[in-house]
């Protein structure tokens, strides 16, 4: 016998080739989870897709950020050319043609303003600037002069109605005439939620059925990870690196959390945070330090979490229980905790 000869080795070669193919084909499917994080709307936005190829994920991520950036371009108070900025800086009483999405967001904001008896207000732009929370990069952290806050409250009390008149423009479009003299639009508490809804819709239209978008305190979910639920942590309001509760979610859902721990400064021995109470002109002292809301739509969750935060434990619970399809998880500074029966999530032991 001298050698194996090529012809005789063909079965061996085929066996080895099959083995190689099988090893590659049986690779674990964990690479189906793609995650991308970018900055948008003044926060980190994390987009995860499941069961997509790299190019499908790339395409989906681009759609998400295109939608978010498009909303930001007209809704941001920090962009001088945005529609919101132009309306804020124009003479009150001017008639403005407004696009449909502007109408959707502002009408939703005003509806929650009414539902929450003014606890959520999309007209606090001036007040947020006064406190230095308007742009998020204020150099000096200090409490504004009492006279300035009082002057704003006086003006607001004289005109508790928001002052928007919905009119028909000469072109047949929706238009507004806004005479809310003490108000300055700041849609920061609701536009991000709306952008998340649009972003998720565009992902679904592109064929991505399993996705998660997290943007600071807002989150929207679709589907699952191959049958495994998305696992979401809710940050502990007092221990930065800790999670106090978690939720395992499958299917479509939006969740939003408002807390006094993300944007604040300490002054006069108190935490001066960015969730202002429209009735006092100062950071809300309702006692709540973290509020999470789950709903079908992110626009509603975003605004309601702020509203409930300002309302406090008793009124906040009452509002959640009154609304269909709305669930909540509330934490009070005295240690009291509450979650509605339908809230998907549970407290972590020792949190």
């Amino acid at each position: 016998m001298r050698g194996l000869h090529l012809k005789k080795a063909i079965p061996l070669l085929m066996l080895l080739a099959f083995l190689c193919f099988w090893l590659v084909w049986k690779r674990p499917s964990h690479q189906e989870l793609h995650t991308t994080t970018r900055l948008a709307m003044g926060t980190l936005v994390k987009v995860s897709t499941w069961g997509t190829t790299a190019s499908e994920d790339d395409n989906g991520v681009n759609l998400v950020f295109a939608k978010i950036n498009a909303v930001e371009s007209w809704a941001s108070k920090q962009i001088p050319s945005s529609l919101v900025s132009r309306i804020n800086h124009a003479q009150k009483g001017t008639v403005w043609d407004v696009p449909e999405e502007w109408v959707t967001v502002v009408k939703a904001a005003l509806e929650i303003r009414t539902l929450s008896d003014g606890a959520f207000d999309p007209g606090l732009g001036y007040l947020l600037d006064l406190w230095g929370f308007g742009n998020g990069v204020a150099e000096e952290a200090k409490i504004p002069e009492t006279e300035k806050i009082s002057a704003w409250l006086d003006a607001r009390n004289k005109q508790p109605d928001f002052g928007i008149q919905w009119v028909q423009s000469t072109h047949g479009n929706q238009a507004i005439q806004w005479g809310g003299f003490s108000y300055e639009l700041d849609l920061g508490g609701i536009a991000k939620g709306y952008a998340m809804d649009l972003a998720m819709e565009s992902l679904k239209r592109s064929g991505i059925a399993n996705a998660l978008i997290v943007a600071g305190g807002d989150m929207i979910i679709a589907g699952s990870k191959g049958g495994t639920p998305w696992r979401i942590g809710i940050q502990h309001p007092r221990e930065h690196d800790k999670v106090m509760a978690f939720a395992e979610i499958t299917g479509d859902m939006a969740m939003s959390t408002s807390g006094d721990y993300e944007r604040f400064f300490m002054a006069n021995g108190e935490r001066q945070h960015h969730i202002l109470d429209p009735k006092t002109g100062r950071p809300s002292r309702s006692g709540l330090i973290s509020v999470s809301i789950q709903t079908a739509k992110s626009i509603q969750a975003d605004a309601l979490s702020t509203a409930v935060f300002v309302l406090g434990m008793a009124k906040g619970k009452a509002l959640i229980e009154k609304l269909h399809g709305v669930e909540g998880m509330l934490v009070h500074e005295n240690g009291e905790r509450w979650k509605s029966p339908g809230f998907k999530g549970q407290w972590l032991e020792g949190s």
Binding site: H5, L6, L13, R27, Q31, T37, G42, L44, A138
Partner: protein
């Protein structure tokens, strides 16, 4: 007679090429399936959305242009962090060392996001990752 001599005696040149080919195929499949497919990299996305890639395995300190001025980024011992950042009012709080693929550190007011991308950690199964997202 050594093993090499025995092998040479009982094989033709074609057999040897065949054996080499088979060995390469098996090695390739094993590496693709079990091994690391490349170096982990640090992706730095600056205020102008420009991405810069650094290897995580090479120690380096360098400046990146942020909205509020230059920001120093340090890579050391297969970890990366923002060395200096201006973050008034605790806005850009996702700071500190990161070392695992998928982790992010950022200075939001500066407009800078740093993320590790690579192989090992990204190949973790979902069950190994604690949370898919943390809502803040």
């Amino acid at each position: 007679m050594t093993a090499l001599e025995a092998w040479t005696r009982c094989t033709h040149v074609a057999d040897r090429w065949l054996a080499l080919l088979c060995a390469l195929l098996v090695m390739g499949a094993c590496i693709e399936t079990l091994g690391d497919s490349g170096e982990e990299i640090v992706v730095i996305r600056d205020a102008q959305a420009k991405e810069t890639l650094w290897p995580l395995g090479r120690d380096k300190v360098s400046q990146v242009q942020g909205k509020l001025g230059p920001v120093q980024v340090e890579v050391r011992d297969r970890r990366v962090r923002l060395l200096e950042y201006r973050s008034p009012r605790l806005v850009g709080t996702m700071t500190g060392w990161i070392h695992r693929a998928g982790q992010v550190t950022a200075c939001i007011p500066c407009g800078i996001v740093i993320q590790i991308k690579g192989n090992r950690a990204e190949k973790m199964t979902p069950a190994q990752d604690t949370y898919d997202g943390i809502i803040r």
